[in-house]
């Protein structure tokens, strides 16, 4: 690939990101995502922590970084998936719905290249959404509760820098899992010209996965569920740090990206574009 060609490829991705991050709808979504840590911080400040709180919520008054972790925990089942589902399901279906897909394809944009660019943009969005929640949470948490040593689940304490690193690792793990959801959304997006339908379908799949995961009678299928390993990020709060417990979750996420990415490719590269 020549340098000019490489730059050409970068242009479409930048355009894609501008489209996502320049859209007012997505700014509203970001505002919702960012309001949760603010809400948590204020609630804990006003009412104090109670004995019924989980480990993460219980630590907020001691260290502001835990506001970020608490917000991620709260937003993981629904708010973060809804954001990623909306973006990924819009990827192809949105362009098909507007008719802009046909003009991209006759420019021409190779269909495989378009999928790669769309998937990359979804991954960037998933990372930004996760980091936004974490950053707002950490900022308001540190402002209100201060940041000292970080208590681990194992009972030891970590320095502030080490605590911050753990938070970044949590974000990385959650991003990977949200990218897996994004791959599912991208595949659904190649099936329809209705972005809203694709968003809802992707969300339904996510919620169905969570429901199935809650039924112990179905434990045999649990290891294959998209959402099964999401809460494993708590393993990152142990001392000493071990990434091994995150292996199954990471593997599951990579498998989802591979399978649904391939399905999206097979569908999109053979589809008639009549929109």
């Amino acid at each position: 690939m020549s340098r000019a060609e490489g730059a050409g490829r970068g242009r479409l991705l930048r355009s894609e990101l501008r489209l996502i991050f320049g859209r007012r709808r997505n700014w509203v979504g970001a505002l919702v995502l960012a309001s949760v840590p603010v809400l948590i911080a204020i609630a804990v400040k006003v009412a104090g922590s109670s004995s019924g709180d989980s480990f993460i919520f219980g630590q907020i008054t001691d260290n502001g970084l835990f506001v970020a972790l608490a917000a991620l925990t709260v937003e993981l089942p629904f708010f973060l998936p809804i954001a990623v589902a909306a973006i990924s399901a819009d990827a192809i279906a949105g362009e098909a719905n507007l008719g802009t897909l046909r003009y991209l394809l006759v420019t021409p944009v190779d269909r495989t290249r378009l999928l790669v660019v769309k998937m990359t943009a979804i991954a960037v969005f998933a990372a930004v959404a996760t980091l936004l929640v974490a950053a707002v949470g950490a900022t308001i948490g540190l402002a209100i509760f201060g940041g000292g040593d970080v208590l681990t689940v194992s009972g030891t304490t970590l320095g502030f820098a080490e605590g911050l690193l753990r938070l970044v690792l949590v974000c990385a793990y959650l991003t990977l899992n949200l990218v897996a959801l994004g791959a599912v959304g991208l595949f659904v997006s190649t099936l329809t010209e209705q972005p809203i339908a694709a968003t809802i379908a992707t969300l339904v799949l996510t919620l169905a996965s969570q429901i199935l995961d809650a039924l112990s009678q179905l434990s045999v299928i649990h290891p294959y569920l998209l959402t099964h390993y999401w809460m494993d990020f708590g393993e990152l709060l142990r001392d000493p740090l071990s990434l091994a417990p995150l292996g199954p979750g990471a593997l599951c996420a990579v498998a989802y990206v591979a399978v649904f990415g391939a399905a999206a490719w097979a569908r999109f590269t053979s589809a008639d574009v009549s929109a």
């Binding site: 050409g8 242009r11 930048r14 859209r23 802009t100 046909r102 006759v106 420019t107 944009v109």
Partner: protein, 314 residues
């Protein structure tokens, strides 16, 4: 050199059957000479847009093959399509982006252009279609005519050798229609081939050198506009109480395809002089109450080809 080397667009047996079983395009053999302004005519639903979508690689043909600019498609897409400017089934852009940002996005998708010249080229294309003043306006606030112009601007983002334009004057006012037609003639004069899909006869009449007529998925005629005009040579029509006598005179004068009916007789005029025919009729004692030379209009020719009327307004 093969015959395709002089054809900007060619197809053989190009067919599209949809999953529903409907055959939208039934084995058409297109031949658009390089440099032609090819009017792709047909009533709505005759298969024009489906054909264009297949030509551009948006739909996979059920059977048949085609070339664009001499290259087999869809294999040659990456090298051919950058040289093709297209307007397919109306303009389509992101509503919440400005006209300029929409064009910048399309330009960003093109691997064969230099991103550093994007702004200049976008500005130039918008000026060319008369949208310079509305470049920063959101697409959603564009009128139908402005949208159509923006679609044309996208086709003009870079020099092209072939334009495939589906109903480019749709939604334009008379002034806009004239501007688009002069734009077409301008790019054609610069050497580009233009395939102009339309249901407007006047459009074909004014700008096209070649015509292909679609009817129910079939290409029922394909020739130069001049040849199509002479396809229906002028006929002599005599109104008379003695059709048989009139027919005898016309036949004796050497006119071909003579026919007689109640109250009238007619034949192909050919090289005969109408005034001499009148004299001959009167000399033979045929009571002539009417005499006319009727040339079929383009519209009549198309109605005959397709059995359907065309919108001749606009």
């Amino acid at each position: 050199m093969g015959p395709t080397s002089t054809l900007a667009v060619s197809s053989s047996g190009l067919t599209k059957r949809f999953a529903s079983g409907q055959v939208a395009v039934a084995g058409i053999d297109l031949a658009v000479p390089t440099g032609a302004v090819y009017g792709f005519l047909g009533p709505n639903g005759s298969g024009k847009t489906t054909t264009i979508r297949m030509l551009l690689g948006l739909l996979h043909p059920t059977a048949g093959e085609h070339t664009l600019l001499g290259e087999p498609m869809p294999r040659g897409s990456a090298t051919v399509l950058p040289r093709v400017g297209a307007l397919v089934e109306g303009p389509a852009f992101h509503p919440y982006l400005s006209g300029r940002d929409n064009l910048l996005r399309l330009d960003a998708a093109d691997l064969t252009v230099d991103g550093r010249t994007a702004r200049a080229r976008v500005g130039e294309a918008m000026d060319r279609v008369g949208l310079g003043h509305a470049a920063a306006k959101r697409y959603r606030h564009y009128s139908l005519g402005m949208r159509q112009r923006l679609g044309l601007a996208a086709a003009l983002l870079r020099p092209r050798e072939l334009f495939v334009l589906d109903e480019p004057t749709n939604g334009l006012d008379p002034q806009g229609t004239r501007e688009v037609r002069s734009l077409l003639l301008e790019v054609a004069a610069a050497g580009a081939t233009v395939v102009l899909s339309t249901h407007l006869l006047s459009e074909v009449d004014q700008v096209c050198s070649h015509v292909g007529v679609m009817h129910r998925g079939k290409l029922v005629a394909q020739e130069t506009l001049a040849a199509l005009r002479t396809r229906h040579a002028p006929r002599v029509v005599v109104t008379t109480t003695d059709p048989a006598g009139a027919l005898a005179v016309l036949t004796a004068a050497g006119l071909a395809d003579g026919r007689a009916a109640a109250g009238r007789a007619g034949a192909l005029l050919g090289d005969a002089a109408p005034e001499e025919l009148v004299a001959a009729l009167v000399g033979a004692g045929v009571p002539v109450s009417g005499f006319a030379v009727e040339a079929a209009t383009l519209e009549e020719t198309f109605v005959e080809l397709t059995g359907e009327g065309f919108d001749v307004a606009g």
